[in-house]
């Protein structure tokens, strides 16, 4: 009985080990939502393997930060060829490790709200940070930071911690872009609207927002697209803030020590083709990095179109981040 | 032939020490008498190898045995109590005396049942020690000791606290062992034990 059971287990995991020896292997470090079965990962793998005569392998780490952490620990001996899933907040830190190579790819196909000419990182999707709200609990959400700050205290929001989460840091940069030096004071005013400051977006979304604990959560402007297209519900919508929104760009890069640089570069090229990008809108729930034309799902027409767009260059983020986080901590613990 | 030669022992941090010196021939029984704390159990533990002597020698048939581990000595002990493994049934308790891994021949299994029958414990093989009376437990311990067929039996107050019927039965078993040539060292403060079993006795 036990024997049979272990055979079953073995059979379940065999596909893991089944590598054919003669094909080159491209190792990609990425995060869970990309590599998930319903994420873009599997479709991308299939499409890329069809044209590259190679094997595409994902190693799934918990977040962009963990990818970097792993890369630093492994140093030049890292088996990674490509890292996919960093963002504008971690780019500069990644660059400073000295482990990221120049991509030398054409960025012609890119279609972003900002100009992009980075020599190391190539965007593969983007979106805006935004507050998503539950239309049933909150029919008339505040339409600006000002209104949010001045709304009655029983309106609660869920945010993420800038010390541990990408959207959390995004909100910090967003407030900074809107208010500049006055941001800490505004944080202090916002403080009693905040129900919880969670470690990650997932904790807040799953444990709190979807449990109905608060009607608003810091998320992405593209989140409603998933609820509308897949869950078939219009209940959750993003609110457009009059002050404008902060841009989030997710990027991939070549690892300098890779022994498969040619293959890695062809993967980066592939990343900016429709075969890759068509998986982004509904599987990663972000805007594609290139113009998909009519292939962009219709629900994306119903998303908010923020104006103006804020974006701080990664180098500036790296420089300011620590101070901003400390100011935030001061304001919130005062 | 057991020779205990100037065997000295002192517990750490205690002023008092002991020196033992005697011989014992096969088929004989020496009874050791004395109040509690007088060193009876200490002597038995020294012979069995549970304690290490400070000096002196223990010889069996002329060969020193004081450096052997307890399991390599030609002795079997029966204590006043705690002789049995409480979590194992009677038959297993005895069987472990015949082979420490309980790998028994069918003959040995038969001898266990015979031993139990002979002591009036027929059918008790599957009982747990906790369900037996004190006399029954001592009988099981003695059956195991006898079946081990070691030439030297060390008995530490084996009959104390038992009813007279049990005492009679156990004494009969011990006498039979003696007649087969087994040497007995008996620590006891019971007059009757001494009279009925011992060939010689000394006071500690």
């Amino acid at each position: 009985m036990l024997y049979r059971f272990s055979v079953l287990l073995l059979a379940l995991t065999l596909p893991l080990a089944a590598h054919s020896a003669d094909q080159p292997v491209l190792n990609v470090y990425t995060h869970p939502s990309f590599a998930a079965e319903w994420g873009p990962g599997p479709g991308v793998k299939e499409a890329f393997e069809k044209q590259c005569a190679c094997i595409l392998n994902y190693t799934v780490l918990n977040s962009g930060g963990d990818i970097l952490q792993r890369l630093r620990l492994e140093g030049a001996s890292t088996p990674a060829d490509v890292v996919l899933g960093l963002d504008t907040a971690t780019m500069e830190t990644a660059l400073q490790t000295g482990l990221i190579g120049e991509h030398s790819r054409s960025l012609e196909p890119l279609d972003l709200p900002i100009d992009w000419d980075d020599a190391h990182f190539i965007p593969y999707d983007w979106g805006y940070f935004a507050f998503v709200y539950d239309t049933q609990q909150l029919p008339e959400p505040p339409s600006s930071f000002e209104e949010l700050i001045n709304s009655p205290d029983d309106l609660k929001i869920i945010i993420q911690d800038p010390r541990t989460s990408t959207p959390g840091l995004g909100l910090l940069l967003w407030m900074h872009s809107v208010y500049g030096d006055k941001a800490p004071a505004k944080w202090e005013q916002l403080n009693n609207k905040i129900l919880a400051t969670t470690q990650s977006w997932s904790d807040g979304y799953f444990s709190l927002f979807m449990n109905g604990e608060a009607p608003m959560i810091l998320s992405y402007s593209t989140s409603p697209a998933y609820h509308m297209a897949v869950d078939k519900t219009d209940r959750y919508q993003a609110v457009q803030f009059e002050e404008g929104h902060y841009l989030q760009v997710e990027v991939a890069a070549l690892v300098e020590s890779s022994k498969q640089k040619t293959l890695a570069r062809s993967f980066l090229d592939f990343m900016l083709t429709p075969e890759f990008q068509e998986h982004i809108p509904l599987k990663n729930v972000m805007y594609p990095a290139i113009d998909l034309g009519d292939d962009l799902p219709r629900v994306f027409d119903r998303l908010i179109t923020p104006e103006p767009t804020f974006f701080l260059p990664p180098a500036e983020v790296a420089k300011k981040r620590r101070q901003l986080v400390n100011d935030w901590l001061d304001a919130m613990t005062r | 032939m057991l020779d205990v030669e100037h065997l000295c022992f002192r517990y750490p941090e205690q002023a008092r020490g002991w020196e033992y010196h005697f011989s014992l021939s096969p088929g004989h029984c020496v009874a050791i008498h004395g109040a509690s704390g007088s060193g009876k159990t200490t002597l038995l533990n020294l012979i069995a190898g549970f304690l290490e002597p400070d000096s002196g020698q223990i010889k069996w048939n002329g060969t020193p045995i004081q450096n052997l581990k307890p399991w390599n000595r030609p002795v079997t002990s029966v204590f006043q109590e705690h002789n049995l493994f409480e979590h194992l049934d009677v038959a297993t308790n005895i069987g472990l005396g015949l082979h420490p891994g309980l790998k028994l021949t069918s003959e040995q299994k038969k001898s266990i049942n015979q031993g139990l029958e002979r002591t009036g414990l027929a059918g008790f093989g599957t009982r747990m020690p906790g369900d037996l009376s004190g006399g029954q437990r001592q009988r099981v311990a003695l059956v195991r000791a006898i079946l081990r067929r070691q030439p030297l039996l060390l008995l530490d107050e084996p009959l104390t606290g038992l009813d007279s019927e049990a005492k009679t039965a156990l004494r009969a078993m011990l006498l039979e062992e003696k007649s087969r040539g087994v040497a007995l060292v008996l620590a006891s403060h019971d007059e009757d034990d001494r009279k009925l079993l011992a060939d010689s006795y000394w006071n500690l």
Binding site: L8, L9, T13, L16, A17, P32, A35, A36, E37, W38, G39, N57, Y58, T59, V60, N62, G65, D66, Q69, L73, E74, P79, I194, L195, A196, T197, Q199, W201, G204, Y205, F206, S207, L208, M210, N211, E213, S223, R321, R322, L329, M332, T333 | K69, P74, S77, H82, F85, D89, T92, G95, L96, G97, P100, L102, L104, G125, T126, D131, R149, Q150
Partner: protein
């Protein structure tokens, strides 16, 4: 005269001493490497950065404060529960309640927290009732309230379980005397209960303190904001975006110092020896009750059961729709079942490994009297709890690199770390039974030559099978529900159950994630149920005169 007795396999004393020493040394090297490399990168240890920062001083203070409160509350709740369970030994649902109490410790945090929020959150059931009965009571889960509530939810059952075992191990003779004298209240406590509990309380408090001290996800989800920040969060923060190794190293050292000195105190008192005492059931001996004591005890146990069960019910209700849904194109089980297989593939070896390692470690610590040789294996029982996982991870990478390339190695590594993390719990479960074999028994066994393998098979195994089954359940369950380690080391594309849950959470699949959470909960219940059934002693040890031949007792 019989010739030399049969030599027992594995009876050389080295077999007891050396493996445990090696395991202990390996862990110490790992921690030293991890910490050392962080310190080298940091270029030294500068504690003044912490002392000079208002924020970091606050973090240290808050960490200690919330952990202390959590210990006090958990023990205060656990004590009456344990006393009630010890006094009333047969009522319907008692053993089910005990199983649930074992379970709460191993529930994955995110699943449990979602259940707690479902009951006590702003929209929770309990909150709803509470507000109806006491309008304007101002209950708010988020903040210190929520942290303490969750910590009590996780730790009070563990504490009660340990206390109960101590109370059940009171010698029947002492209980008979207490019964005859009609002792109750203070004098019952003084003469029976306190002496039984006193030896386990320091170790138990230290364990709960450590668990709450290093708490992370609970603090962040329920803490309400950066006012509630623990050292573990600050360490993660220092590494997550900043890669500030000096800061992380300093904070990790502070954590090691605080928790380490606590354990050292416990050691010095020599009071840690039996966290889970051996279970020798003294059959229910009636003690003189207060007039309405049974009513009160029943009420207390009912409240406690509800406290534990309601969040589980909330998890079930939330997850059920996804598990029952048949219409959603691809069935959720297409992902759940393979993920379950992979999880078991990691968790089973991790569980067995943890039990085996615990036995070797305990054997080694028991074998020697030399203080250092004793300390080396003993540290493995505590270090995994107080060393931040990121430090362990760093140490491991340095130890093993290069060559963490292929997936099979990664899985072995994850199983290895998981069993390491389970060690403290498994050791706690096994220590007392292993050391409880008395000197008389060992003496008889010595004389009969029952050594090495034979001694293990005949003396220890029958006594340990039950604690081992419980230890195994802890080992498997902790590994089964672990997000941290697998997230730290990365996993192949095919997810294990926790990774699957994480993927679903990260991709808006909220209802599927709830289903996965419930599935995980059911698996954990199953694991504990099966193993507690296997661990039960064979029927003949409970009933007399069963007909089977017992020369060769049957062992499952």
């Amino acid at each position: 005269m019989r010739s030399t007795p049969t030599k027992a396999p594995l009876s050389h004393p080295g077999w007891q001493l050396i493996p445990g020493q090696l395991l202990g040394l390996a862990l110490l090297i790992l921690v030293a490497l991890g910490l050392g490399s962080m310190l080298i990168t940091a270029g030294g240890l500068d504690l003044s950065t912490v002392l000079n920062s208002r924020y970091l001083r606050g973090v240290v203070w808050f960490t200690v404060w919330q952990a202390t409160l959590s210990v006090l509350l958990s023990l205060a709740l656990a004590l009456p529960i344990a006393r009630a369970l010890a006094r009333y030994r047969c009522f319907p649902g008692r053993s089910a309640l005990l199983r649930v109490m074992e379970l709460s410790l191993v529930l994955p945090t995110i699943v449990a927290v979602s259940g707690i929020i479902g009951v006590y959150g702003r929209q929770g059931w309990a909150t709803g009732l509470w507000n109806e009965w006491f309008p304007g009571n101002g209950w708010n889960l988020y903040g210190l309230n929520g942290i303490l509530l969750a910590h009590v939810f996780f730790n009070a059952p563990l504490a009660a379980r340990v206390m109960l075992q101590s109370l059940e191990a009171v010698p029947p003779s002492r209980l008979r005397i207490a019964s005859q004298l009609g002792l109750r209240g203070w004098w019952l406590w003084r003469s029976v209960e306190w002496p039984a509990l006193r030896p386990v309380l320091p170790g138990l408090s230290a364990l709960v303190f450590t668990l709450c001290f290093t708490s992370f996800a609970i603090i962040m989800t329920l803490g309400g904001g950066p006012k509630a920040t623990t050292l573990e969060v600050a360490i993660y923060q220092a590494l997550r975006f900043e890669f500030d190794f000096p800061q992380a190293a300093v904070l990790a050292v502070i954590q090691l110092l605080i928790c380490g000195s606590l354990w050292w105190l416990v050691f010095r008192q020599r009071l840690q020896s039996s966290l889970l005492p051996n279970r020798q059931l003294s059959h229910g001996i009636p003690l003189k009750p207060w007039p309405i004591q049974s009513v009160l005890a029943g009420f207390l146990l009912l409240i406690f059961s509800l406290f534990l069960l309601l969040p589980l019910l909330a998890i079930s209700l939330r997850g059920l729709p996804a598990l029952l849904a048949m219409d959603t194109g691809t069935s959720i089980y297409e992902q759940l079942l393979p993920a379950t297989g992979r999880s078991l593939l990691i968790a089973l070896p991790a569980g067995f490994g943890a039990v085996a390692a615990s036995l070797l470690i305990l054997a080694s610590a028991n074998k020697t009297k030399h203080p250092i040789l004793k300390a080396i294996p003993t540290t493995t029982g505590y270090l995994p709890l107080i060393v931040p996982p990121i430090v362990l991870g760093t140490g491991l990478f340095l130890l093993l690199r290069p060559g963490l390339g292929n997936h099979a190695q990664g899985w072995v590594l994850v199983a290895l770390i998981n069993s390491l993390m389970a060690l403290p719990f498994v050791i706690q479960v096994l220590r007392a039974p292993l050391t409880s074999v008395d000197s008389h028994t060992l003496r008889v066994a010595d004389q009969l030559g029952i050594l090495g393998w034979y001694r293990w098979r005949r003396i220890y195994w029958p006594l340990l099978r039950r604690p081992m089954a419980l230890g195994l359940a802890y080992g498997i369950a902790l590994s089964m529900g672990d997000f941290g380690v697998i997230a730290l080391f990365g996993s192949p594309g095919q997810p294990t159950l926790p990774v699957l849950l994480y993927q679903q959470l990260g991709s808006y699949q909220v209802s599927a994630a709830a289903g996965t959470g419930l599935w995980l909960l059911m698996l954990l219940v199953g694991i504990f149920g099966v193993l507690s059934a296997i661990g039960r002693p064979p029927a003949h040890q409970q009933k007399n005169g069963s007909p089977q031949s017992l020369l060769e007792p049957k062992h499952a």
